[in-house]
């Protein structure tokens, strides 16, 4: 594997006022990947993105983009990145076309070329007809697409989108997804943040989950989904457990001489698990359902999208 599209090591950020938004965050994203950074509100996603794209100062740690170090060669790093931020951040009074052309200008692209590229990307994002309109008069979905066009105008190798579909209706969301898949297929590495598992699931190949400023999970998307939809049981046996080869499909794990952890797909018939246990000579005297950690996390994210960290910090956990 050659250089990563993004490699961050031990990133820490404490905002003024003392809130620690990132705690020792390390992440690698391969070139060509479609990567999700998933986490509830306040988890630190935008802070991480902000540091990578030079909008937020880090306290410690390092960032490398396409092999270039952010501290040593910020210009090279900035050239590689296209950013679609979470909040609208264009001049509300500037016409749509000028916003994109000017952004190209900031990257040093001569005006003639900038105009051609603005036309190309505004057309792709269905905004060319709006080029002379003041940006504030666009709808929410159009504003989001404007920011995508603006992020692409210097043809970055790494496109970062911070909650690109927040507040965008389903239909436009789908077409945005198709658009992003197409860009990724043509070779642009994409990182997006989201707090919807479905969005990550439908788009991304790899995922990291961040909560309270810490990476709590990194894996391939399909692997994660497989693990998510399993449940685990802790089985107590009357006698010492011997051979568990026959239970292979339950991914058995011997915890101590009389306890065993089994994991099975949520749809699996539990009766057959007991049959298999009997056949393996294990007499079940106790059974405890173990919460699926991932699933637990997502349930919390959905039911309680903001407060996980704060509650934890307050109780000192």
């Amino acid at each position: 594997m050659d250089t990563h599209a993004l490699s961050i090591e031990n990133l820490c950020k404490i905002y003024k006022g003392g809130h620690q938004a990132l705690v020792d965050v390390s992440l690698q994203v391969g070139q060509g990947d479609f990567f999700a950074l998933l986490g509830p509100n306040g988890a630190g996603k935008s802070t991480a993105i902000g540091i990578i794209s030079s909008l937020v100062n880090k306290d410690s740690g390092s960032v490398e983009v396409m092999g270039h170090d952010l501290d040593k060669d910020p210009v090279k790093v900035k050239e590689q990145i296209g950013l679609v931020p979470q909040e609208f951040n264009f001049n509300q009074f500037e016409p749509v076309g000028e916003i994109v052309v000017n952004q190209a200008g900031f990257y040093g692209i001569p005006r003639k070329e900038a105009l051609a590229r603005a036309k190309k990307y505004l057309t792709q994002l269905d905004l060319w007809g709006k080029r002379d309109v003041e940006s504030r008069s666009l709808s929410g979905g159009m504003k989001r697409r404007l920011m995508i066009a603006r992020a692409l105008v210097h043809e970055p190798r790494l496109l970062i989108l911070d909650e690109p579909t927040a507040g965008v209706d389903i239909e436009i969301r789908r077409s945005m997804w198709d658009f992003l898949r197409e860009i990724n297929r043509k070779g642009t590495t994409i990182i997006l943040t989201t707090h919807y598992l479905e969005e990550a699931e439908s788009l991304c190949r790899n995922i990291a989950i961040i909560n309270c400023g810490r990476i709590v999970e990194k894996s391939g998307m399909s692997d994660l989904l497989k693990r998510m939809h399993r449940q685990s049981f802790v089985v107590s046996s009357r006698e010492t457990i011997g051979e568990v080869d026959q239970l292979e499909k339950y991914q058995p794990e011997i915890l101590d001489s009389t306890t065993l952890e089994l994991s099975l797909h949520q749809d699996t018939d539990m009766n057959s698990m007991f049959d298999d246990l009997s056949r393996a000579g294990i007499q079940v005297v106790g059974l405890r359902n173990k919460q699926n950690r991932l699933e637990q996390m997502f349930i919390e994210m959905v039911t309680n999208p903001e407060s996980i960290c704060k509650a934890e910090q307050e109780t000192g956990q």
Partner: protein, 257 residues
Amino acid sequence: MQLARYFTAFKTILIKEVLRFSRIWVQTVLPPAITTALYFIIFGKLIGEQIGEMDGYRYIDFIVPGLILMSVISNSYANVVSSFYSSKFQRHIEELLISPVPNAVILAGYVGGGVARGIVVGITVTIVSMFFSDWQIHSYSITFLVFFLTSVLFAMAGFINAIYANSFDDISIIPTFVLTPLTYLGGVFYSISMLSEFWQGVSMINPVFYMINAFRYGLLGTSDISIGFAFVIIIGFIILLTSFSLWLLKKGVGIKS
């Protein structure tokens, strides 16, 4: 190669800034023209005729340089402070922060915009003044140099104000409480020879005083102080404020958390 890119970025910021104040010319260029016309009518014509001569010039001719420079100062400043503050407020400053534009280019672009507005307004006011007084330019080079350096200096000051500003109030406090008094007390309407020794001394620590006198020298050929010293003061301040602005940008004060 890299330099060409930076130049493109500079041009982009500059043109964007010029377009911004041109679009709203009714708010940016017209008011100073009207205000100075009023000054000329009231102070120059009506009151001025009663005053008679000042430093050997008709009063209306004597106040022309100060009035021109006053509008250059307030407009260079106002352009940068409001434009840069609103780029913070609307967050489009982020467009520049994520781009590979060196801080010096960002600063030059915004200051360039302020200078452009200072020049446009300065020329407008100069044209207005020609309806009321007929003066000959004593030295074109000194006139233009002071004109230019003054707008650079105050555009830069506006930039620093914008960096520290956290609300729209913060961008009007300095112009109201610092800039206006400094300009009025800088000898726009009087020659400091009219003041007592003590107040003459106080005037000497006002940088605007040197600019107005240098500019008056360029236009009329008269000044309360040495021109060379005035340039040293102006350029000294420019160097000071430029270094400070660059340092603020490097630290990300007011623009990065």
